[in-house]
Symmetry: C2
Subunit: 339 residues, 2 copies
DNA sequence: TTGTATGCGTTATCAA
DNA sequence: TTGATAACGCATACAA
């Protein structure tokens, strides 16, 4: 059976579609008696407005698009959770797409969302994304964009992120104060801002505490498999006999890889080598030893980014001006048994 | 600037919108010369078809809706991954919603998707969902539904799931063969089919091997926080001094909670008590001791369910008949150090 | 090969 | 207070 339309109601009641529409929307230029009968019949016939038609008419889809590198990642699923919840609160639905850390793919997904006429876009950049014409181009189409987590500082739009440099600085400083002085860093890919910033924070902490920076203590993890990257580089570190007494890893998953390797090789944590992670995944609480980490508010990041985005959409539709926001969410350290 | 429409192209080329439409769609009743000029201009003007208009016209949204209990859950994020990938391959986009294991919420989310006029729905039932009128009602609206993972066997639609009873049976049988004979079961909520089936598999395995079923060895974990549930019930089990030598847990997260509790209490795993999980989360490979588990193919489940759904949508649109499918995905055991 | 007319379901404008 | 008409952008049956 076909869905009921306003026309069906109008026919049944022998009134015009216009009046039905008005009654349904509670406009005041319709008599309370007809309004009542329309509402009653709509209820009875189980009328559901066709949102596609509404979308066409109002030029809004009440839909926002999200692009993240990958969804099978606790941090990002927490972000998505926050996004969906906040969006729903404002009557928006969420279409999620993945870039798989691939620039070309990211562009393609963006195109899909534009074609779908989403009202706004939330994106966390892929590791490969260096240039952002594809994003500025969208902005010009009057589709608001908010970037989060993996941002590009040059981008002309609102951003929600954490102070990666500061967070890394605090983590490494903690290690130093705890007495560790030969601290390695397992860094992420070269491109992403957060990878760079965490590295800079690490460097600055060393510097501020009079510890010379040693380039050979920086291990690059950019094989898109954090756990294995951590494991393999930890192995390498052991073989190279670097004499480090602590490691600051850019990600919990990498840190867990390190733990695993050390456990496999009889390296005592934190006695022989301490390990500090980043992101505070649930996993980190149940691993042995439990992992010290930086708490990164995923849910709140998704929520806030969505709030801003919808605000911009609303302003855009109302022809009100608005300015881009830079939201820096607070982080904190959680100290467990690995340090 | 407003998006370019076919009208703009038609105006520029001094031809009709119809011809533009046909040319764009590669219909053959349009001269190659005009086709070429249309395509070229469309490219130049950066024409993007308005999918909302297309949707209204074709009565299809090329969108599928997904409802899962919660996205911050490795199994479900793998499912979503599979769904998004398969959907995209067929030109569909995915709207994800969560039921938060709440029946009323599930109904509401379903309503939202219907209102959004999605072409089909994928759903994994909430723990609280007992009756399914809300689903059959949708089916009657000619919106195909495929249920997966947490299904209701009575439901009249396609289903993709695993043989929970068999999988549980195999896990418990493994324990028995390994020499464990006093095996506790940490079961899930009472409602969900998979919870029931895993329990039945456990019981059957005991029975088939001449081990008497002891009701007091079944611990109910239904507080919606698997890890804590596992931890607390493990604590209880220790206090009750049940003398068990193994535990079959309905979920890895619960199993990990057990591990944690045992580690905290100096219970040796598997020497004192062995632990078997279910689902094979990544976490289980890095926990100490690593957890034996049942491999549950999340990605493939999402992929397959989507494939079937899109198939049904396609058939429905073509007025072709189709029959509901019951797909049982294979599982297997992965034995690690906890057993 | 091209174009006209019509409709998808809703909303907005304006006249009655 | 009501309704006729047009429009959103596209696609199709049919006529030219």
């Amino acid at each position: 059976m076909k869905p009921i339309t306003q026309k069906d109601i109008a026919l049944e009641l022998n009134i015009s579609v216009t009046t039905v529409s008005k009654a349904l929307k509670g406009m005041k230029d319709v008599s309370s008696s007809t309004k009542e009968s329309v509402l009653k019949l709509a209820e009875k016939m189980n009328y559901v407005p066709n949102s596609v038609a509404v979308n066409l008419r109002t030029r809004q889809t009440k839909t926002i698009g999200v692009i993240i590198p990958t969804i099978v990642h606790q941090f990002f699923s927490k972000v998505i959770d926050g996004i969906i919840e906040e969006a729903e609160k404002h009557g928006y639905l969420v279409i999620t797409l993945q870039s798989n850390e691939n620039y070309e793919f990211e562009k393609k997904q963006l195109q899909l969302l534009i074609q779908k006429r989403v009202d706004g876009i939330l994106i966390s950049l892929s590791n490969q994304t260096q240039y952002c014409e594809h994003l500025t181009e969208i902005s010009n189409k009057n589709v608001p964009i908010v970037v989060f987590d993996k941002i590009n500082k040059l981008l002309n739009c609102s951003k929600v992120f954490i102070d990666d440099q500061k967070a890394a600085y605090e983590a490494v400083t903690f290690l130093i104060n705890k007495g560790y002085h030969r601290i390695a860093h397992f860094r992420g890919s070269l491109m992403p801002q957060n990878s760079i910033d965490r590295f800079l924070g690490y460097k600055k902490a060393l510097n501020d505490h009079g510890i010379p920076f040693d380039d050979s203590l920086v291990y690059l993890c950019d094989n898109n498999n954090d756990f294995e990257d951590g494991y393999n580089n930890a192995q390498k570190l052991l073989e190279e006999n670097k004499n480090v007494d602590a490691i600051f890893a850019i990600t919990d998953l990498i840190a867990v890889g390190i733990l695993k390797c050390f456990n496999d090789n009889g390296v005592k944590i934190p006695k022989d080598i301490a390990v500090f992670g980043f992101s505070d995944w649930f996993m980190s609480t149940v691993v042995t030893p439990s992992l010290s980490s930086v708490i990164q508010p995923g849910f709140e990041m998704g929520r806030k980014a969505t709030e801003i985005l919808i605000d911009e959409i609303t302003n855009l539709n109302a022809n009100k001006p608005y300015s881009y926001q830079n939201i820096v969410l607070p982080t904190s350290l959680v100290i467990r048994n690995s340090t």
